[in-house]
């Protein structure tokens, strides 16, 4: 495995990784074997990059969500994999004159829209606002059906800040069968669903625990860390929650705690969950220590991913190549998978390392180190000449 820093990134035949950090962004390009990597960056050095996504519909439009220390949040766009950038003409923002006087502190999450709606993207914010663009990220509008919903303040527990960096909206999911069918996650607040393009919403948390309430099974108020829908089996959702790992089969709509099948000494707390692109029964998680004061580092200082290949009935530890002792955290946007066969699995750490496995997690190699705290690593498949 080799890694080379380059000034100009030439895309090879392999995967591309988009890495956003607390201090800027980097792009990594692998060769076909996924053993040799080129790294370009930093872009936006010193800026907080919360998320970076390439549009899978055109393989070209790259959006980056960022803020800069004390400056307001914004979105930048690139169509040449980060060689040049242009800021959104109208970044995501709550409506001026908003009755709750909300202002956006951060754009936290980016989701490309449905394949039938080119140019549509969704953005989740902190506080928990939802925003939509129809022109590939140049101008954004608040999604009024969510932001102005009569129960928004209740669901979002406004104005309480429920996470250290502020409550946020994430995991915006568009059903591949229906652009009007949407899911989203609130940390905190829970999972919510809309079947009418975001005009109305309802909680979707039955079966999921929220042990930080007197009633551990409330209708809302949960803390989903990451929610995923399998594109080939869109009635199946997975969730890595503050209170465990869950799976849901629709239309039933009840979360089943598949994390109960994780080793007891490891537990089932974590931030990310990633799905195999072709096998709805396979998912990867990266457990963290959710005991005592919640260190959020690897349990017992022994980092490892875990994979299930039977939809959560059993889990297997994947630690070969990883440090025997380490105390980093893998954040919710910082784990990703490529489309290869076997699937490549990647994660970035709060200690500034990116780890890669070209064999579905059977072994890991560090492909970048000494970067700032990593917030996001996303696989991209750019259009190639």
């Amino acid at each position: 495995m080799t890694t080379t820093f380059v000034d100009t990134l030439d895309i090879d035949e392999g995967p591309v990784l988009l890495a956003g950090t607390r201090k800027g962004a980097w792009v990594l390009a692998g060769d076909a074997s996924r053993t040799s990597w080129k790294v370009s960056g930093p872009m936006f050095l010193g800026h907080v990059v919360q998320h970076m996504m390439l549009d899978p519909r055109d393989g070209k439009t790259l959006l980056l969500a960022m803020r800069t220390g004390h400056l307001g949040p914004t979105v930048f766009r690139s169509t040449d994999l980060g060689r040049s950038w242009k800021e959104a003409t109208r970044p995501p923002a709550f409506a001026t004159g908003d009755p709750l006087e909300r202002s956006l502190n951060a754009v936290f999450w980016l989701t490309p829209g449905h394949s039938s709606e080119p140019g549509v993207w969704y953005a989740g914010g902190s506080p928990q606002g939802l925003f939509r663009t129809e022109d590939s990220g140049d101008t954004w509008e608040p999604v009024s059906g969510w932001n102005d919903h009569e129960l928004w303040a209740t669901w979002a527990e406004w104005p309480v800040e429920n996470t250290p960096d502020g409550s946020m909206l994430h995991s915006v999911i568009v059903d591949p069968r229906d652009p009007a069918h949407l899911y989203l996650g609130l940390s905190a607040g829970g999972v919510f669903e809309s079947t009418d393009a975001g005009n109305d919403w309802h909680p979707l948390n039955a079966g999921c625990l929220a042990t930080f309430f007197p009633d551990p099974e409330p209708e809302f108020g949960h803390d989903p860390h990451c929610v995923r829908l399998h594109p080939l089996q869109p009635d199946r959702l997975y969730q890595q929650n503050h209170c465990g790992i869950y799976r849901m089969e629709r239309p039933e709509g009840r979360w089943l705690r598949i994390g109960d099948n994780m080793p007891r000494e490891v537990g089932d707390i974590g931030f990310p969950i990633e799905l195999h692109p072709r096998d709805p029964d396979t998912a990867w998680v990266f457990p963290m220590d959710g005991t005592d004061v919640w260190p959020r580092t690897s349990p017992d200082g022994k980092p490892a991913a875990y994979v299930t290949r039977d939809a959560g009935d059993t889990w297997t530890r994947l630690g070969a190549g990883l440090p025997e002792r380490a105390w980093f955290t893998v954040k919710r946007q910082a784990m990703t998978v490529d489309a290869g066969d076997p699937v490549g699995v990647y994660f970035g750490t709060t200690s500034g390392e990116i780890w890669a496995s070209p064999n579905e997690g059977a072994s890991w190699t560090r492909i970048a180190e000494h970067l700032p705290e990593i917030y996001t690593v996303e696989y991209a498949d750019p259009a190639r000449a």
Partner: protein
């Protein structure tokens, strides 16, 4: 009138430290600034027209938070930003 731009916002002004902008209030001045340098206003003023928490706008030597503050041609405007954090 002259407006001093802090380092973190100079990517909007082609790295110019001092630029010209017009207006009879701070709000009008910032709106004109945004016309000349698109995007700069939202980085320092939120969507509810509040100067962001760690941004400061000085009219001459006086820090102002009210965007309706009246200004004149002979006033000098200085925008500053805290650079705290690790």
């Amino acid at each position: 009138m002259r407006v001093r731009i802090p380092d973190p916002l100079r990517s909007y002004t082609d790295q110019q430290k001092v630029v010209d902008a017009d207006g009879s209030t701070v709000a009008e001045l910032l709106a004109d600034l945004d016309t000349r340098y698109p995007g700069i206003r939202f980085r320092m003023v939120d969507e509810q027209n509040r100067i962001r928490k760690h941004m400061k706008v000085f009219v001459n030597d006086e820090s102002v938070r009210n965007l309706d503050t009246e200004i004149g041609d002979r006033d000098e405007i200085t925008i500053m930003q805290a650079l705290s954090g690790g």
